[in-house]
Amino acid sequence: MEGMTGLIAIFFSAIFTNNILLTNYLGMCSFLGVSKEVKTSMGLGAAVIFVMTTTSVLNWLVYYHILVPLNLENFRFIVFIIVIAAFVQIVEMIIERVSEPLYNALGIFLPLITVNCAILGVSLFMLIREYTFAESFFYGIGSGIGWFLAILAMAGIRQNMKRSKIPKGLEGAGITLIIAGIMALAFMGFSGVLNIQ
């Protein structure tokens, strides 16, 4: 994969064929917790797209320009977590100062994001697949959009299911997992179209 086509392929396969949530199961906790309403899940999804893109780029720079020259690759987990947490904190402060409505929309979701495994997962996948700088950027933004799509679809379905009759033992998490399974099946339909790596 060379040049622009490779980047576009990574972008779309991160959204569809290798959806971070439905094929790699990352970010499940907030996916199950926050997907009750379309509005809140949109807020969280938007925050995830933003943070995922920027942290994957930041972590790429930190890893290849600071950790590798110093032979500190084994400390990558700690460093990545610090980068993500610090970045989220800074963004929260900036948004609070700059834009009141944006803070009201995204603010409460930002602290949740630090512990969203999808964010750290994207940074770790990007290292394992040995992406270049541009590829990491497209992978980050694609994964973010993929996560956003998945949680939005789930919230839409759950909102419409409020009055349906569900077997008692399946209420809450159980039925959400089954819907997620069906969604994963649907997304598997894309799998022949593009391939990552």
């Binding site: 990352l26 906790c29 700690i78 977590i81 495994c117 994963a184």
Partner: protein, 206 residues
Amino acid sequence: MAAGKTKKQFIMSAGKDNPVFAQILGICSTLAVTNVVENTVVMCLGVIFVLACSNFTVSLIRKWIPGSIRMMVETLIIAAFVIIVDVVIQATLPGVSRQLGPFVGLIITNCIIMGRAEAYALNNPPLPSFIDGIASGVGYSYVLLIIAVFREITGSATFWGYDIPWFSDWWTNWSIMVMAPGAFFALAILIWIIKTYVVPEDPGGK
């Protein structure tokens, strides 16, 4: 601490308050690593180790952690133990390490570990916290193992990578069980069974 109380607490954490199906925590790795039993066992040992050690450490220094940055401190402690696990797995089991990929690192963001540190270790002395860590880890592990055994047997008709006599010959692999949707269905069905039959009748049991 009396032995009876410790035992009771152990059963509580591993059974009724089970992190996976009572609190729906730590789902990410539950689903990701459970298509092969061997990987699951390695992952479980890693989680138990990290959970017990981080609980112990957080509890030791709980009086000196300033409230406002406690999350950060906890995350760093957890990350330090995860690095140990990662290095050990890489050195001893390179094959498994390659298959687990980023999921060893993702133990850091496994909500169970953070959750136990917040809910238990911050308010209790080191030794009970250590035991609580092991108990939660065991509770987490047996759920993972049930799912892994089910998925490996139905999905690839093997157990621990070996063929099962009298079974592998005629069984048609449900290849969907090894892939993503199978994981969701398996966990949902397990939660359903447990919520319907086990928890209401026998609280505190397994």
